[in-house]
Amino acid sequence: MTFNFEIYGERIEKVNLAPGDNHRGIEFMGRQRNPIQIIYLAERICGICSASHPFAFCRAVENAAGIEVPERGQYIRVIIAELERIHSHILWAGFAAHELGFDSVLYISWRAREEVLDLLEYLTGNRINYGVFMIGGVRRDISEEQIPRIRKTLEYYKDIYGKIEDIFLNDPTIALRTKNVGVLTKEDALRLCAVGPTARASGINKDIRQDQPYSAYADLEVKAITPDVLTGEVNGDVYDRIIVRLLEVVQSIQIIEQCLENMPAGEIVAEKKLVKLLNQLKKAKGEGIGRHEAPRGECIHYVKLNESELPEVWKARAPTYNNLMAWVPMLLGQQIADIPIVIASIDPCIACMDRVTILNKNNGQKSMLTKKDLHELSVQKTRRITP
């Protein structure tokens, strides 16, 4: 991923995004595999959203083949997906603080994130790439003995949450660095089809868990969180994106608690025998889409089955894909030192943001900045601020 900027003094006048130096061809690879193998490929699209992609993919195949997921399976899916949201948002909080030069906050929040990773390892066997999703349900049950451990972790987050919230929402330096920085208006967010916390922070009341409740979300009262819940106004800046993500952590804790209370008994997967399932999928004909509200926004997969072992089409779309274009209005008019936090504010899921080219309009000079240089500029700006 390369960003090309044209600057006038310290201000950005033009932005050009140039992604695509590393094409993995994951959809091409998927077309040479059967749907059950693709689940594990989908899981590895992203290390942080490793529940979102298999969730969306399994829903797409189920819709295409007409498979119903047992209710208990739906509840377990939601619990895993919400635990993932907690760890993703806390990871982001640490990352954003690091970009601003608050490294102690990075250590606090990433230490806090370890708890939920340990819980995920306890429930699924892995810290990431859980391998828990299966077409028609899930592969592992949550037993009665495991529930106290889940509740313990949720209590831990309730305790520590106040501390993290206090750092981000009451610290004057963070407010100065993030308020009115990287503003995305509601109109721009709509026009550019932004998704997830990026869209919600601009005041678009959009969340698939609310708009089109699927799985166990259909039984829960999930509401899209916009920043005006807390502050009474919507600015669409970096600060608002922080608010939305912090409030979503609390929402996730509540969702998991409701799931644990209402979880029905019964089967966890529609068809246990993989060979039978594969035969069923071989005979299936149809197309389906699967959507899931990932931590970063809507994740959508499209699958077309055509009476053969391999799917005819598999299309995966990650949320950052739609938020890519939103960077342009956010970055225009900003200072160079604000580039790192604005780019980080949509929680991008790109392999690596390698470098930035800056064209100075005063003298036509071209210069290249690496991530390290930019980070240094951002940290220096924070040090200069005296609230």
Binding site: A18, P19, G20, D21, N22, H23, G25, E27, F28, N63, E71, Q74, L190, R191, L192, C193, A194, V195, I204, N205, K206, I208, Q210, D211, Q212, P213, Y214, S215, A216, Y217, A218, D219, K223, A224, N262, P264, E287, I289, R291, E298, I300, Y302, K304, E312, V313, K315, R317, Y321, N322, L324, M325
Partner: protein, 178 residues
């Protein structure tokens, strides 16, 4: 805000584009213990009316555009545009999938970026992945494939212009080296 039912939306399209809507389907899915339902619409429309259909869609509510998925079905390429309508309120959202077929000897489709600017990334993707010519698209540089990717190879095609040849060639080279 007034909400149209899925069958009303299909009727609206049928009325406006008489005979051009070649296929339509409403799917109703349920979820959870309470079996709450949501609906999906699948519409197939001829290419000549495609742009107008998107324009009509924008008059219902500014749609959320998700992605274009393309499939190579022999003599034709089938493009499906995935939209969603009526977001913002609980259980009201309808997924609308608009499909159109392009013959391989005339792979042209008008751009929708003048109506929905956010579709640019997806249109550039189908251009380089499937070789579809998007008429009126402003920026034509490669977006996902590297800049030195061979011309005339479209990774998601299944015919002779697909990427299978590149994969086989690499395998042969590896075998030779061994």
């Amino acid at each position: 805000m007034e909400y149209m039912k899925p069958d009303e939306i299909i009727e609206l399209f049928k009325e406006k584009f008489n005979g051009s809507v070649t296929n339509n389907k409403i799917e109703i899915k349920t979820a959870g213990l309470k079996k709450n339902s949501y609906s999906l619409i699948w519409l197939e429309i001829e290419r000549k009316d495609f742009k107008e259909a998107v324009r009509l869609l924008c008059t219902i509510q500014f749609p959320h555009f998700a992605i274009i998925s393309g499939s190579d079905i022999g003599e034709e390429i089938k493009l499906t545009y995935h939209f969603s309508l009526y977001y913002g309120e609980r259980s009201k959202e309808i997924s609308l999938n608009l499909t159109t077929n392009l013959p391989k000897n005339n792979l042209k489709i008008p751009t929708i970026t003048d109506l929905i600017p956010g579709a640019q990334t997806a249109e550039r993707e189908i251009k380089e992945m499937l070789g579809v010519i998007v008429e009126g698209l402003p920026d034509l540089a490669n977006i996902f494939l590297p800049k030195d990717f061979p011309k005339g190879v479209y990774p998601l095609r299944k015919d002779e212009t697909g990427a299978m040849k590149m994969v086989n060639k690499e395998e042969e080279e590896v075998k030779k080296a061994e």
